[in-house]
């Protein structure tokens, strides 16, 4: 059965069973590897993408249940044209190994879309599902505050 999936504005015909999680459609069928596999059970947040603008764990969303356009880290910005949140990540030199950061950034982008000036408690609430084994949390927090300030100016 073929499904049409719109990712970062581009429609794709996907010929896979409807129960295949969005994560693996992105990574293995479309070759969009910026979205990461970390746990497969929504316990780490590495696979976070936006569906209809909402942050979701793509490892838990079946292809058949995707009911709107998908935005991944590749659609947020590129090395030559970064989104404000990505530029803040660079300003604060957040990443260490970097593996969880796509998911962190997608979660943070969704937070800022909902709440342009999050408090530390807001950040705690929104980001605690995103695990980082390198322990980059303080710089993540600082980068979110910086991005919020930059986006307010813009």
């Amino acid at each position: 059965m073929s499904t049409t999936l719109t990712v970062n504005g581009t429609p794709h015909d996907i010929d896979l069973p409807g129960e295949v999680p969005l994560l693996w459609v992105l990574r293995d069928a479309l070759g969009m590897t910026g979205t990461k596999y970390g746990c497969g059970v929504a316990a780490c947040g590495a696979c976070t993408v936006h569906v209809n603008g909402t942050a979701v764990r793509s490892c838990q969303m079946a292809l058949a249940d995707v009911d709107g356009p998908v935005t991944t880290i590749e659609g947020l910005g590129t090395p030559d044209a970064m989104a404000a949140i990505q530029a803040a990540w660079v300003d604060h030199q957040v990443a260490q190994c970097g593996y969880c950061q796509s998911g962190q950034i997608m979660q943070a982008a969704a937070l800022l879309a909902d709440n342009p000036a999050p408090s530390d408690d807001d950040i705690d609430m929104a980001m605690q599902g995103n695990l980082c084994r390198c322990g980059t949390y303080p710089r993540i927090r600082a980068a979110i505050h910086t991005a919020a300030a930059k986006m307010k100016e813009a």
């Binding site: 596999y37 991944t72 190994c97």
Partner: protein
């Protein structure tokens, strides 16, 4: 050579294997440069194994695994500093597996004795011994050695490349090289004539590289000693950094691995149900594991669950209690090592008060964010393998054997590592992929481990037990006698490498025997258990358990002596090793330590000297509606010259969080020989809401370069335990803390 020969006759683990290799090959072999593995193409200049220049630009080879510790940035900065290129304008790659990229610092760290006591002469011996790493093909990223290894060698590589390019320009312009300067990737000649490095590459390639170039004075540095933007940051902020799991090749298949959870063999399997599932192409026998090959990873993971394997039983006791009971039996035998034996611990000094305590810490998983994986293609008798790894030559050797090809026919492509922490110093994930590629000749295949497979098939940080005895008198520590039982992670690792470990295991007692405390009667003995449970190097290795044992017990001694635990440590260390005492003084000042805390707040301190770097840590915990919050942490470290302060700070805080996560929640337990924890829901870590605020001070008084990636971990667990004692009055003597304390989760 006579000095090395003398050391070689004293057997000690790894050091002896290295020296025996070195002696066998002789000084000439050790001193001879390894061949440059980079074969220049037409028009490409490769003046040394670390610099490639062609029409497209400058590429720097930083052949150490980038697993988050920033090694590629600082190694590239060392080259760029002398080469006069803009760090933002060059490409930085891992490069191939090659002897030229051996680690010069790792073997030296395994000399016997306490590193803080080493003289300049002994550091010289360590340098010579380090060169033996080349003979063993030790292209290893580990032991927090990358800075001591790379500096100033990489500066010299950059300087040599620069002078070679200038020589090419000098010959073209017909003027002397001394009249030329360099800037921003260009040679500048009098009259503002500029020649781009790219345009000189073809000529430079014809020259013998210029060597013996004097290095610049640090006062001229533009990159080193400063926090520079990491070369991998933009890629990691945009999802474009390629990890092993992101490798995509034309026609590639996706496979899932399942190996025996009891870490033994496989009698057979029934794959008939799995083979009927959509997208599944084949199920391949890999000896003690099988791989399901499918059109995508998820289908392969699902089908792997449908295979019915017939696993052999574990070669170690079936459950945790029996495993720890077996480990405790090691205390009944003779010690494997007595690395410190000062004064007399057999007699309790007159008038002294004896203090005893036993401690237990569990097995731990590395739990890197990127699960183990590797991608392989065997075609026309040649194997290509892609993976994040900490030891490319080991990957090359062992994959060659697995795929049935010669070592020279294996090309290792090292990607970014989605975390290492020691796990990717092993190479099992690559060997399984090589075996699978052999069964799929001509077809590329990516073999991914599920999180559950990763968690249950780790080379764990071994559990460890301590029996501590000490004595205090007149407010002072007069005796410390520690016995530590565990498995030998290093001996197991060396055996997997194909080496034959001999001699006592220094690593198992590091963090206990080699601490710069002036305690008059002071002994540390190690007892190695013969358990066959798979174990390996986990961030800070032996220090990860011994830091806890030693520093919790020193705290108990301070309490018994009625002394302030920070001041007592400072007094014991001050006359032995000044940089170490300096870290304690720094955290005292940073935290405003008074030795007193109000109700509802607890503070603990710990110190550990590891990997050449002393680190002092103070942690503050707070009672928050009945739950314990880790509120603040202050860290002071002294790794000597700080080549990149921002990266050092990040490593110190990251290592602290890694250790605190383990102290709070980390444990692997066993049932029927299998690890019980499966995923992050039962092997959790600190997250943003329960991570403490952290402040780091990077001191630079240490005359020798120390490590940065690991030394922040050992002090984290005891500082937390000591803070919890201060808060609750209960001594934590067993990890993880979640079983006995109500932690904020």
């Amino acid at each position: 050579m006579s000095r090395i020969g003398k050391i070689a006759r004293r057997t000690f683990l790894i050091g002896s294997a290295a020296v025996v290799g070195g002696v066998a090959f002789g000084a000439y072999y050790i001193g001879r440069p390894a061949p440059n593995p980079l074969k220049p193409e037409p028009g490409q200049a490769v003046p040394n194994p670390f610099v490639v220049i062609d029409q497209d630009g400058v590429t720097l080879v930083a052949p150490r695994a980038e697993m988050g510790q920033g090694v590629q940035t600082t190694w590239a900065a060392m080259i760029a500093e002398e080469l006069d290129v803009d760090l933002g304008q060059v490409r930085v790659i891992h490069g191939p597996a090659a002897a030229a990229y051996y680690n010069t610092a790792m073997m030296g760290g395994l000399l016997p004795g306490k590193e803080y006591e080493m003289t300049a002469f002994q550091h010289g011996i360590a340098d010579v011994l380090g060169k033996v790493g080349k003979v063993l093909g030790a292209q290893i990223t580990g032991g927090s050695t990358s800075m001591a290894d790379g500096f100033p060698r990489m500066c010299a590589a950059g300087a040599s490349a620069r002078e070679t390019l200038k020589e090419a320009a000098a010959q073209r312009l017909g003027i002397d090289r001394s009249r030329l300067t360099t800037r921003d990737g260009k040679v500048i000649a009098p009259g503002n004539v500029e020649l781009r490095y790219e345009d000189l590459a073809a000529d430079a390639a014809k020259l013998s590289p210029v060597t013996d170039v004097a290095l610049r004075d640090p006062s001229q540095w533009r990159y080193l000693g400063k926090s520079v933007p990491r070369v991998d940051m933009a890629a990691k902020a945009t999802g474009t950094a390629e990890f092993g799991i992101d490798v995509r090749l034309p026609g590639m298949k996706f496979a899932a691995l399942k190996a025996n959870p009891a870490r033994a063999g496989m009698a057979g399997f029934d794959a008939s149900d799995a083979l009927r599932m959509p997208g599944v192409e084949q199920v391949v026998d890999l000896g003690d594991a099988f791989a399901v090959v499918a059109t995508n990873t998820w289908l392969a993971l699902q089908a792997a669950e449908a295979v019915k394997p017939d696993w052999d039983a574990a070669a170690y006791p079936a459950d945790t209690d029996a495993i720890l009971a077996r480990m405790a039996r090691a205390f009944d035998g003779s010690p494997d090592s007595t690395m410190r034996d000062d004064g007399d611990v057999a007699t309790l000094p007159a008038g002294a008060t004896e203090v005893t305590a036993d401690y237990t810490v569990p097995y731990l998983a590395h739990a890197t964010m990127e699960p183990m994986n590797a991608t392989a293609l065997l075609k026309d008798g040649k194997l290509d393998i892609w993976c994040g790894n900490q030891a490319p030559i080991l990957v090359q050797d062992h994959c060659a054997a697995a795929a049935g090809v010669a070592k020279e026919d294996v090309e290792v492509h090292t990607t970014f590592l989605g975390g290492g922490f020691g796990r990717r110093g092993d190479f099992d994930y690559a060997v399984y992929a090589a075996k699978l590629a052999r069964a799929m000749d001509g077809t590329p295949v990516q073999l991914t481990w599920s999180r559950e497979e990763d968690m249950t098939h780790d080379f764990y940080r071994p559990a460890a037990l301590a029996r501590m005895k000490g004595a205090v008198k007149d407010g002072k520590v007069v005796m410390l006698d520690g016995r530590i039982a565990s498995q030998s992670a290093i001996r197991q690792y060396m055996t997997r490498m194909g080496l034959s470990p001999v001699g006592p295991d220094k690593v198992m007692v590091e963090g206990a025997f080699n601490q710069p405390y002036g305690i008059p009667n002071y002994r540390i003995r190690g007892y190695v258990s013969d358990l066959a449970l798979p174990v390996g190097s986990w961030r800070s290795v032996g220090n990860s358990h011994n830091g806890f044992f030693h520093e919790c017990f020193v705290d108990e001694l301070a309490h018994a002596a009625g002394a302030d635990p920070l001041q007592m440590r400072y007094d014991l260390i001050r006359d032995i090793h000044a940089p170490s005492a300096g870290t304690l003084a720094a955290v005292r000042e940073m935290s405003g330590w008074t030795g007193k805390t109000p109700d509802g707040i607890g503070r603990g301190v710990a110190f550990c000297y590891s990997f050449g770097t002393p680190v002092a840590t103070v942690i503050e915990v707070r009672n928050e509606d009945g739950a314990i919050r880790i509120a603040k942490a202050w860290i002071a470290c002294d790794a000597g010259l700080a080549l990149d302060p921002s990266i050092i700070e990040a490593q110190m805080t990251g290592a602290l969080v890694y250790g605190l996560s383990a102290a709070c929640f980390g444990e692997i337990t066993f049932s029927d020989g299998a690890a019980e924890q499966q995923n992050f829901y039962d092997y959790d870590a600190l997250r943003i809401h329960n991570c403490p605020e952290m402040e780091v001070r990077v001191l630079e008084t240490n005359p020798y370069l120390g490590g940065a990636g690991e030394p922040g971990t050992p002090g984290s667990m005891p500082a937390l335990a000591n803070a919890i004692f201060d808060l609750t009055g209960t001594r934590p003597r067993k990890l993880p803390l979640m079983h006995d304390f109500d932690l904020l989760v």
